[in-house]
């Protein structure tokens, strides 16, 4: 049986959907052990255990992971790979996940594959490249396989109360992890109460066409239980936080549904959303490139279409 490590960057009271996807994939490949990127109390570990984690590795000095950028997390992961004799490590396809995988690959003299959407029993990885224009299968040819998994790629593990004893954390020394930047402050994201953008099943996104008012976009998002996204034009204008930017230099999403409102469909925007199952576009301009990839295109004013749709959804839901 293959030994698979799952890197959990931020253990939470209940595992996130992305974390449950990683655990489900790991369990489908072999024995799934978790590397804790930060402190995890009993409840957090019980949640991960319920979602399939069979063992835990953590740092003797978790505060080091919070105080310095990336380097200590690399030391932890490398120590865990050695302690577990891991065949593969699955990490989230986030900025942090990729960076940790990148550096661990150097220390372990192995290879990394990012943006995975599937991994088979031989550890062959499927991903898409060139902004979704090709599907590629690739594999790691030496050392433990380091793979970062895109959110919304596999069916997440159900978080169950396992009833069984939650395994203890095996703590590892980080040793000298080398020069690193100090993290002197962190300003947490303001919780919106909406689903996390990268993991959301539905996304409603607004662009320059919202003209300063995200109200109609947020209202439709709330009627659908969707996350709110944006184009760079909208985030650059300061109408919404930069963390909402979808695209090449923002978040990549692959939801079931992406509603694009007042967004022209530049190549950099499409790079972040065109793997959505369904795309609905609302735009005043019949020649907007976004219509070329929309399953439903509505030529019209978002200021009237979005509120009407939100009201109709609420009416049907009674």
């Amino acid at each position: 049986m293959l030994k698979i490590l799952v890197y959990i960057h931020a253990p939470a009271q209940t595992p996130t959907k992305g974390q449950r996807e990683l655990l489900a994939l790991a369990a489908s490949l072999g024995e799934a052990a978790v590397v804790l990127g930060d402190n995890a109390d009993d409840a957090a570990r019980a949640g991960l255990h319920g979602a399939g984690a069979t063992a835990f590795y953590g740092a003797v000095t978790p505060e080091q992971l919070r105080g310095e950028l990336i380097a200590p997390a690399v030391s932890l992961l490398v120590a865990a790979v050695r302690a577990a004799g891991a065949d593969a490590v699955l990490l989230p396809n986030t900025m942090e996940g990729r960076e940790i995988a990148a550096r661990a690959a150097v220390r372990l003299d192995s290879g990394v594959i990012t943006d995975a959407v599937a991994v088979d029993q031989e550890l062959n990885v499927t991903k898409s490249v060139l902004a979704g224009s090709y599907t590629v299968r690739a594999r790691i040819t030496r050392g433990p396989a380091l793979i970062t998994l895109k959110a919304n790629s596999v069916q997440p593990a159900e978080a169950q109360d396992s009833g069984a004893q939650v395994p203890p954390v095996q703590t590892l020394e980080l040793g000298e992890s080398g020069p690193a930047a100090r993290i002197t402050a962190t300003a947490p994201h303001i919780a919106s109460g909406r689903p996390e953008l990268s993991e959301a099943r539905f996304v409603v996104a607004g662009g320059r066409g919202v003209d300063g008012d995200f109200g109609p976009v947020e209202d439709l998002a709330d009627a659908l239980g969707a996350a709110v996204g944006a184009s760079r034009a909208a985030t650059d204008a300061g109408w919404i936080d930069h963390s909402a930017q979808v695209g090449q230099t923002g978040v990549t999403v692959s939801p079931q549904l992406y509603i694009s409102a007042g967004i022209s469909g530049a190549i950099q925007q499409k790079a972040g959303m065109q793997s959505a199952k369904y795309i609905v576009a609302i735009n005043k301009d019949p020649d907007a490139p976004i219509f070329e990839i929309a399953d439903l295109g509505i030529i019209g004013d978002l200021a009237s279409v979005l509120p009407q749709a939100a009201a109709e959804i609420r009416r049907r839901q009674g």
Partner: protein
């Protein structure tokens, strides 16, 4: 490499020549390599060049003894990425070119770049873009920090350097906006939020003609061919298939009822 207050900086900026994202891009049927015709300087690297020039200018620019070197690795045409950097204001260029490099993955690429950076030596700051627009893995900057033993300050949306040679920077992490601090020397990558890249002006274009681009081979760097290229890479592509491009579906014009049509569409697709 200890620095005194306000002393001139020696900055290295990494640039890549990539297929233009505005056009359709292809993998070649043989070996799944990227078709590199019609390539340009990766637009995300323009932010790195701008950040390098701004740091140099904060210490008095070229006249003040600051030096910005643009380094690329790639086939013959890749020198164009260095040329554009020189036109924007970099002082000198280096191009690593060798037939054995073809097929290098991120790990092999970072090995070559790190070896070249050590060979050239003496940099206070190594700067890169947040990702290349072709492979888009973002792996190389972090791997360079690892190989060079430099503090990693990556995906920065803001960078400042004080007189005591401490970098203060901001990045959007998974947990929120992080403030970072590290003394030189450092490895930095910047996002498209960090600045507004300048365009080469006429003077810059003329001046670039007189600037030198040095070419380096693997032998000059003391790198064995077997450790790079396809042979030296820790990953291998098994197969590649073009995606059916998405096609346009139904397009309707709103005449007062399109919001209802949208909801019907969602219901038909069983989304609600």
């Amino acid at each position: 490499m200890s620095q005194k207050t306000g002393t001139p900086l020696n900055i290295l900026v990494l640039v890549k020549h990539v297929p233009d994202v505005q056009f359709e891009r292809h993998l070649l049927p043989n070996g799944h390599r990227l078709d590199r015709q019609d390539s340009v300087l990766s637009e995300l690297d323009e932010y790195a060049i701008e950040a390098a020039l701004a740091l140099a200018e904060s210490r008095g620019g070229e006249k003040g003894g600051n030096h910005v070197t643009a380094l690329t690795m790639g086939p013959a045409g890749a020198a164009n990425a260095v040329k554009k950097s020189l036109q924007m204001g970099a002082s000198a260029g280096v191009h690593i070119s060798d037939a054995a490099l073809e097929g290098s993955d991120a790990g092999a690429t970072s090995l070559v770049l790190a070896t070249a950076i050590k060979h050239l030596g003496g940099f206070d700051v190594v700067l890169t873009g947040m990702a290349s627009t072709d492979a888009e893995t973002s792996l190389v900057p972090a791997q360079l920090a690892e190989r060079l033993g430099l503090a990693q300050l990556t995906n920065l949306s803001a960078v400042e350097l004080d007189d005591a040679n401490i970098i203060t920077a901001t990045r959007m992490g998974e947990d929120g906006a992080q403030t970072l601090s590290a003394p030189l020397p450092v490895l930095i990558s910047v996002t498209d939020q960090a600045n507004e890249p300048r365009y080469p002006n006429f003077r810059g274009i003329l001046a670039a003609k007189k600037k030198k681009i040095t070419t380096l081979s693997l032998a000059e760097l003391g790198i064995e061919a077997s450790t790079v290229g396809t042979a030296g890479s820790g990953t291998r592509v098994l197969d590649a298939a073009p995606h059916e491009p998405r096609s346009a579906g139904e397009i309707i014009t709103d005449s007062g009822q399109a919001g209802l049509a949208l909801v019907d569409f969602l219901a038909d697709a069983k989304l609600i």
